[in-house]
């Protein structure tokens, strides 16, 4: 266990956070709002980061354990410090509430405890949405992109943060891989800003909604989310980008590198698109009566299906009022989530594919006990470890889901639908669930204890469980 290096890496992360806070600071300056909340937080971050940066440890090796602990530590610390501006500004006076809101931002969940959003300072709201942008691709990936290293061990950091069952580099160098990922991410977000501007949204809102879409977060600056704009063109633009941000970013790299065969054989992409198509059809047909026109029905269904599938959690209608079939479809989509290697949460499409193939294989194995069959993904055989990893991940996911549902129920006496979907919406990084936490409701009704549990759920979901479990298990902090 290399404590010194871990400390150094975390200090670098805090310094990066201080750097990123200058953006909301500028926004606050533009709208001549109080700058103190940001300046104070930047100051605290720098003071906390400096001791760790003064000396470079002689031993800079990090192994997979340090990589996992670093990613969990980084996300927790960033959220702890990132909550400060909300408290200093007075937007969210209670620190636990602010922490919940910040975790929700960084993990790109979009679950909010705020009931009244529109009256808050614009700088603070910018920071709230900007955390989606930071959390979407991950701060460790950002660090790898800006700090050069020839050590292959840095891969341990990337592995701990990029979601999905299979993790690899796009190009031989980690730094370039990280740069490419961030490049694609920022370019797509920039295109979205322009596209939204063309639909007539104010520039500030363009940025806010692009952040929410790019990170698949879902914070908005209107009390009624996207419905408040009453702008069908903007809804279509966002729907398209929600679809795009739910796709594995490797696909865009292959597209840029003109490696079309790799895209063609990508099973995850095909299944992802198929699920969207099927769900959109079911939901449209099922909800058609609740909309005024067929066009509205298609737009409303497609937007909200994509919003849930990509785990963003924007809403244009209160889908709480939809028929049970549509609501059930949405809950299923919540759990599946987007593609591996995207900014979306959930189980990830490729993991679901592996799980299903694994199950089919098991049944075949019972039928012919001596048969040996390899599981294939994208036409290539998967290692046994990947299959086992997916199965084990699912059991951990199930355990965490059960445990947190029980914990929430101890102090909060909402109906099962509310509690269950609140947990699912947090663990899968969607944001709004059903019942009292539906698109028109929020999480402010929960007790402090449940808010902490749900905050942890969001972190569990974003970091894919294992880093967080390691972080809280004493065994990983032992010296050897």
């Amino acid at each position: 266990m290399n404590y010194r290096m871990l400390w150094r890496l975390l200090s670098i992360i805090l310094l990066i956070e201080a750097g990123l806070l200058t953006l909301p600071l500028i926004v606050a300056a533009i709208y001549s709002e109080p700058l103190l909340p940001f300046l104070l937080t930047i100051g605290i971050l720098i003071v906390c980061a400096l001791p760790g940066l003064i000396r470079k440890p002689a031993d800079s090796r990090i192994y997979s354990r340090e990589g996992f602990l670093c990613s969990a530590g980084a996300w927790i610390l960033m959220s702890l410090f990132g909550a400060l501006p909300f408290v200093f500004d007075g937007a969210i006076p209670n620190y636990i509430d602010a922490f919940f809101e910040t975790v929700s931002g960084f993990t790109t969940t979009g679950a909010s405890i705020l009931t009244e959003i529109e009256s808050l300072h614009r700088g603070i709201l910018f920071w709230r949405s900007f955390t989606h942008m930071i959390g979407g691709m991950g701060v460790l990936v950002f660090m790898l992109a800006i700090i050069p290293s020839s050590d292959g061990r840095a891969m341990n950091l990337l592995r701990a943060e990029v979601p999905g069952p299979q993790k690899g580099k796009l190009v031989p160098k980690i730094r370039q891989t990280a740069l490419i990922l961030y490049g694609i991410y920022l370019a797509l977000a920039a295109i979205e800003v322009v596209a939204l501007r063309l639909t007539g949204l104010p520039l500030y809102d363009c940025f806010i909604n692009a952040f929410g879409t790019a990170g698949t977060g879902g914070f908005s600056v209107l009390n009624h989310s996207i419905a408040g704009y009453n702008n069908p063109a903007a809804e279509w633009v966002m729907a398209v980008f929600l679809l795009l941000f739910g796709v594995n970013f490797n696909i865009y790299f292959y597209l840029l590198a003109r490696r079309f065969t790799e895209i063609k054989k990508n099973e995850e992409l095909r299944v992802y698109l198929l699920i969207i198509l099927v769900s959109c059809t079911i939901v449209t047909v099922n909800t058609i009566e609740s909309f005024a026109t067929v066009g509205d029905a298609i737009r409303g269904s497609v937007f909200n299906v994509l919003s849930v599938m990509s785990t963003a959690g924007f809403s244009t209608v209160d889908y709480n009022l939809w028929p049970t079939l549509s609501k059930t479809v949405l809950v299923m989509l919540m759990m599946i989530g987007g593609c591996a290697g995207s900014t979306a949460g959930g189980l990830k499409v490729s993991r679901v594919i592996i799980l299903i193939k694994n199950a089919v294989n098991e049944i075949r194995h019972v039928l012919k006990p001596n048969s040996v069959r390899a599981i294939r993904l994208d036409g290539e055989p998967l290692g046994e470890e990947t299959c086992r990893g997916a199965a084990n991940y699912f059991s951990l996911y199930f355990l965490i889901a059960c445990a947190s549902t029980v914990l929430i129920a101890v102090f909060d006496h909402f109906d099962l639908e509310t509690n269950l979907t609140a947990m699912l919406a947090c663990l899968n990084n969607i944001g709004p669930g059903f019942g009292k936490v539906g698109p028109t409701g929020n999480y402010s009704g929960y007790t402090i204890f449940s808010k902490i549990v749900l905050s942890l759920d969001m972190l569990f979901g974003r970091l894919e469980i294992i880093p967080m479990i390691l972080f809280f298990s004493p065994a990983s902090w032992k010296k050897t």
Partner: protein, 476 residues
Amino acid sequence: MIFCDPLRKIRRGDKPGIKKQKGYDMKIIITGCGTVGFAICQQLIQFGHTITAVDEDSQAVTDLCNVCDVYGIEGNAADVSILRKAGAASADLLIAATSSDELNILSCIAAEKLGTKHTIARVRNPEYTGLVELVRGGKGLSLTINPELAVAKEISRMLRFPAVAKIDTFHRGRVELAEFEVAADSPICNISLFDLRRHLKMPFLVCAVYRDDHIYIPSGDFKLRAGDIIGVTVSEEEIADFFKEIGAYKKPVKDVLITGAGRITYYLLNLLKKGKIRATVIEKDHALCRELSESSNCTVICGDGTKQELLIEEGIEKVDAFLALSSDDEENAIVSLFAQAHGTKKTVTLISSLSYDTFFKSIGLETIVSQKNATAADVLRFIRSIENRDGIEIESLHRIMDERVEAIEFRVSGSVPGVTDIPLKEMKLAPGVLIACIIREEELIIPSGIDRITEGDSVIVIAEAGRISRIKNILA
């Protein structure tokens, strides 16, 4: 890594300060992630090259990727689709280092056809010499490396001068670079290099000193101490006299005892034929003994080279040199320590795959050789040469002092602004760079401030490893 000029000492743990030059990033494919492939990879990654590694063994690929920032691909190195995936169409260099000669040659040919600019193959079987020549003629192969032969050559050089820990040659053997430890009673202790040179009256240059984990490029007023490890360049004719003068001369080895009859032993015996050295080889495997006895006229003993009685019977206490060259690293280390304890004058230990280099040195093994390091210099020389597009060739490249210092011989075939035709004292050399000697029409010049480099000279430059790839780089 530490590297400093005499006036400036740098703390342990500081960065080596490798300057990355423009156009330095080459796309390299390495096939075979065994000991040699792994070592080459680790060497090259430091210089910022983009590396893709290919191996059939997925565990070997994973192990490499966990340590080095490389892209790993699992598959057969001669499979065209795998090579394509590895980017052979646009790669600058392919290094085929699997354990199979045939596979290496095949992947080089395939890569060249796909568009790789240069290829290096590890070819060990001497029977393929003709094949290699043939393929080379068609530009399919730029270079072959033979780690075992390289080790054998390294050992044979050492046996000529048992006093040195390592000896490298430049300019087709005309200039020698010897690395050795200064003995406590040596007359070169506590005298400034300036006085020493006047005193000895022969052209030589102390070009690097290793003391207390620091490396110094010494100036004239530097004083050597006992225990320093120094690198000295001296001409071939005078090296024996040089060692006599400084009282470190040991007679060339006349008889050696070798354990293990592997490929290195085979090559070494061939090299030793010329030097009239009597060799005794102990090998367990009867078939190998038989094979060796057919190809060489040394004494071959079929027996267990780890048996104390056998070693003593074969005269381990009396031979001039003992070489532990079996395929078992641990065995080599133990037997060498035993030989040293019994007063063998010179022991050489082969450590092929174990990574305890520093530890083995610290427990007293005097000379360690290994396949992985022996070819690294060749590969680096080749890479630096293809980086040079200004017509200045790198004739040879050697690494001394635990691979931390490089001695590079350039052939100056054109004029280089700032380097050629100006007196050395006016040249703005980068710190830590030394011009060790100039070779002009087969005459060795140990340069002073008024000498100058002219077209057609060969120049040997000493610098921190990885710093210099073109002659221009010696300027600040």
